[in-house]
């Protein structure tokens, strides 16, 4: 993991572009991306797509790993409910996503940074709009900086430890 060498750009700075990692299922959203390509649609260039067979393959760890290595947002794309190529993988993805999102929000990650969308193979326009919208939202939020722990990250433990000594539940 390279250490950040420059001063992090200010929130919403114009010359800063977010990095978004996307996990697209092979049968719907990845094909929508192909269709957007063959239709020569234009969208924000800061999304990096990783293909998986099914959105059900997206382990929450993948999302955490991406955020921990400098992603400013993570997008998961799957087939619409009822349309999963594997019958129900997208429902599993949804279940995990809801839990993960709740946890990340609890940890202070803005909810716009993680997104799950159902995009069918025919919905290239939706794909374009989702990517553009998410890119703009994440850009407005600024860098996630989850790859570097905040300087005072250990302070919380100290407070907790002190509280424990005093017999107070934190």
């Amino acid at each position: 993991m390279p250490e950040p060498t420059e001063t992090p750009p200010a929130v919403g700075a114009d010359d800063w572009e977010p990095k978004i990692v996307a996990f697209f299922c092979n049968w719907c959203t990845y094909l929508a991306a192909d269709l957007a390509g063959t239709s020569r649609m234009k969208y924000a260039s800061n999304t990096r797509v990783i293909r998986v067979m099914c959105s059900g393959r997206v382990d929450p760890q993948f999302v955490l790993e991406a955020l921990a290595h400098g992603a400013d947002g993570v997008l998961i794309g799957g087939c619409h409910p009822g349309d999963c190529h594997y019958q129900s993988g997208n429902y599993k993805a949804l279940r995990r996503f809801r839990l993960l999102k709740r946890m990340l929000i609890g940890l202070g990650v803005e909810e716009e940074r993680i997104r799950l969308e159902w995009i069918s193979a025919a919905e290239a326009d939706k794909l374009r709009d989702v990517i553009n919208e998410m890119a703009a939202q994440v850009k407005a939020l600024g860098p996630a900086h989850l790859e570097t722990p905040p300087e005072d990250w250990a302070a919380g433990f100290e407070v907790e430890a002190e509280a424990e000594v005093e017999g107070v539940t934190v």
Partner: protein, 663 residues
């Protein structure tokens, strides 16, 4: 999670190949800079660019570098893997290493085609290639497994597309189940009079083929049947077919039609579906004289016996010891196994009531083109005499093109057939009535063999062409029974108001009402307009994204009869190529259990939609034949003991690190 510390394979030698794709990629991505960058990545032994990697010399490049340069991993950055992944795997294998030591990066569909800024697109290409280089180090050699194929094929839909596909397959010696939901096969084509541009009679071409279907030893024809459920996978589909009651025992009926004759209804009172309501039929009827099978059908809605239970049942009497009528029939089901399925479910025509300006359903003498097909047809309700609803023979006819096509208010696409069938109807109406015929068109589209010639012929016959979209249809003053067509003639730059006796609306083609349900049943995709989506418009025009399911005819998009038949032949050939091989090779992206690491927690078992996971001796076990490789269990396994070939955790983690590492 299972992050591998090493690749377990020493230091691999990776070859990276960046495709220009002519200028498709090279115009937006600085391919040379990308290759130069790729060469600096750890493990990369060679990085090259080539104009067309998919071409023979491009593939040769890979082979030669593997053989001479000792490469053991290959990355190609080019178009989408759905296009050429298989091509480059073959090239990799031809070079002498396992085809799964290859990874493909899409820098065309995912990059050069969707971005305009060269700097941004180039940076993105570098990121994606870096991810692939990271990932490919962890690739393992894999083998494709073989599964036997059931040689039978199901064809869904008995229009000309389904008929042609079924006959092609049956003639090749394969058993075909042809499923049609109407009481007879034939589809829309059976309703047409003549076909453009040759003007040969539709029935003369179609009915012999229908008869062949009915009598072919290799075809099981199921009419009044629909597919209820599809299970299984390529080569081994299990299809459940629902048979709607016909109230006639098909094998016992000889098609003598005496029952129709003696029905207590002296005359028909139900609008005849085949004649689009232009004539009436009885509750017991045969859809049309050339119907296949030649078996009558009872309509439960209008039959007295069904409505009151107190009919004299003259039909049963006359049928006598043939005993073909059975009022107690109910829905039944059949389950069959097939290796491939051809979908030929056709289209529906646009309902012009949705475009109220044309006055359909308001003015009696406004007809749809399908109704006119029946009116000009010698076996139609008027025996081919063009008689209007008010009894007159038209002296002037206006044909309105593009009704429900090329219109932002209905369908934006061109329905492809309307111009030509409008010309055909213009010719037939003029021939039969001597009427003056006015075509109101946006553009005349006459591509294809003999089409432009046909247009010229009809124009020379004196049919009028007015370039303008009809804006309004209203009754002529003075109760003449005529209507006025108002349009702006864009060639003369003035508004034309032409009174006509008869209006023909050239209605466009739309996807079937239940295309969405059918799509779900067969696990395929709908594209624009609700038509079924082909796997690739040029490389796989009759395949779908679900292996073993093929498309034929207008269910894939509007098309005329020659194109439909050509496509049906192609779909049959593709299905034949699949089932005739006897086995199918499965993508080795299945999940597997590292037994030593499995805690036996059973989390995975209920997650699998294919019940491929069982617990044996306290450990999970995956049946590779049942596993289809979605990876849902892999993501859920708490101990990380389930892995997925081609999508191993470490491969995906490496991709994540790869796209995020700075260039």
């Amino acid at each position: 999670m299972n992050r591998a510390g090493t690749d377990g394979n020493g230091q691999p030698k990776i070859g990276v190949y960046v495709c220009h794709c002519g200028t498709n990629i090279a115009a937006t991505v600085d391919v040379e800079a990308v290759a130069e960058y790729a060469a600096t990545l750890p493990g990369v032994a060679v990085a090259k660019t080539y104009k067309y990697m998919c071409s023979d010399p491009g593939q040769e490049l890979i082979k030669a570098d593997i053989q001479a340069g000792g490469l053991d991993r290959v990355v190609v950055a080019a178009c989408s893997p759905s296009l050429h992944e298989a091509t480059f795997r073959r090239a990799t294998a031809a070079g002498g290493i396992n085809p799964y030591y290859f990874h493909m990066v899409s820098i065309r569909e995912l990059d050069s085609w969707v971005h305009t800024d060269v700097v941004e697109a180039t940076a993105k290409a570098k990121d994606l290639i870096r991810a692939a280089v990271h990932r490919v180090r962890f690739h393992k050699p894999l083998e494709r497994s073989r599964v036997d194929i059931n040689p039978a094929v199901m064809v869904v839909g008995g229009g000309i597309a389904g008929i042609h596909a079924a006959l092609t397959l049956a003639n090749a010696g394969k058993h075909v189940y042809l499923v049609e939901r109407e009481p007879s096969i034939g589809g829309h084509m059976a309703q047409f009079d003549k076909t453009f541009p040759t003007l040969d009679c539709a029935a003369c071409i179609l009915t012999p083929k229908m008869t062949d279907v009915g009598s072919h030893p290799n075809i099981t024809l199921w009419t009044m049947a629909e597919v209820d459920k599809v299970d299984g996978y390529v080569g081994n589909y299990k299809v459940k077919v629902r048979h709607k009651p016909r109230f006639i025992i098909e094998d016992a009926c000889v098609g003598c039609m005496e029952c129709i004759e003696v029905c207590v209804f002296r005359r028909g009172k139900t609008p005849d579906e085949f004649n689009l309501g232009l004539s009436m039929r009885k509750p017991i009827y045969i859809p049309f004289p050339q119907a296949v099978p030649q078996v009558v059908v009872i309509d439960q809605e209008s039959c007295i016996e069904f409505r009151t239970g107190r009919c004299k049942k003259t039909c049963v009497e006359v049928c006598a010891d043939r005993n073909a009528i059975d009022f107690t029939q109910t829905e039944t089901f059949d389950e069959v196994e097939v290796g491939a399925i051809v979908l030929a479910t056709g289209f529906k025509t646009f309902d012009p009531r949705r475009a109220p300006a044309y006055g359909y359903g308001v003015y009696d003498n406004v007809y749809t083109s399908m109704e006119v097909e029946r009116l000009v047809n010698a076996s139609g309700p008027t025996e081919g005499h063009v008689t209007l609803r008010d009894g007159r023979t038209p002296q002037t006819v206006g044909i309105v093109h593009c009704v429900g096509s090329r219109d932002v208010n209905s369908n934006v696409y061109c329905s492809r057939v309307c111009c030509m069938y409008s010309l055909k109807l213009a010719h037939l109406l003029k021939e039969k009535t001597g009427a003056e015929v006015y075509n109101f068109y946006i553009d005349i589209r006459a591509p294809g063999k003999g089409m432009e010639e046909f247009y010229n012929r009809v124009a020379e016959e004196g049919v009028h062409f007015i370039r303008g979209k009809v804006a309004d249809v209203y009754p002529e003053a003075g109760n003449t029974g005529r209507v006025v067509l108002q349009a702006e003639d864009t060639l003369m730059s003035r508004v034309r108001k032409i009174p006509v006796d008869m209006v023909v609306l050239a209605t466009g083609l739309e996807a079937q009402v239940d295309a969405e349900e059918v799509r779900r049943t067969f696990n395929i995709t709908c594209g624009g307009g609700g038509f079924f989506m082909e796997r690739h418009p040029k490389l796989a025009p009759v395949s779908t994204f679900t292996d073993g399911i093929f498309l034929a005819g207008a269910c894939q998009g509007p098309k005329d009869i020659p194109d439909t038949v050509a496509q049906a032949g192609a779909a049959a050939a593709e299905a034949l190529a699949l089932v005739d091989k006897g086995f199918v090779e499965m993508e080795p992206n299945t999940a597997y259990v590292v037994t030593e690491e499995c805690s036996g927690c059973k989390t995975c078992i209920p997650l699998c939609p294919y019940t491929a996971i069982t617990r044996v001796d306290g450990k999970a076990q995956i049946n590779p034949v049942l596993c289809k490789g979605c990876g849902t269990c892999v993501a859920a396994c708490p101990s990380g003991s389930i892995r997925q070939n081609l999508f191993e955790d470490e491969e995906i983690y490496e991709e994540i690190l790869g796209v995020l590492a700075d260039a």
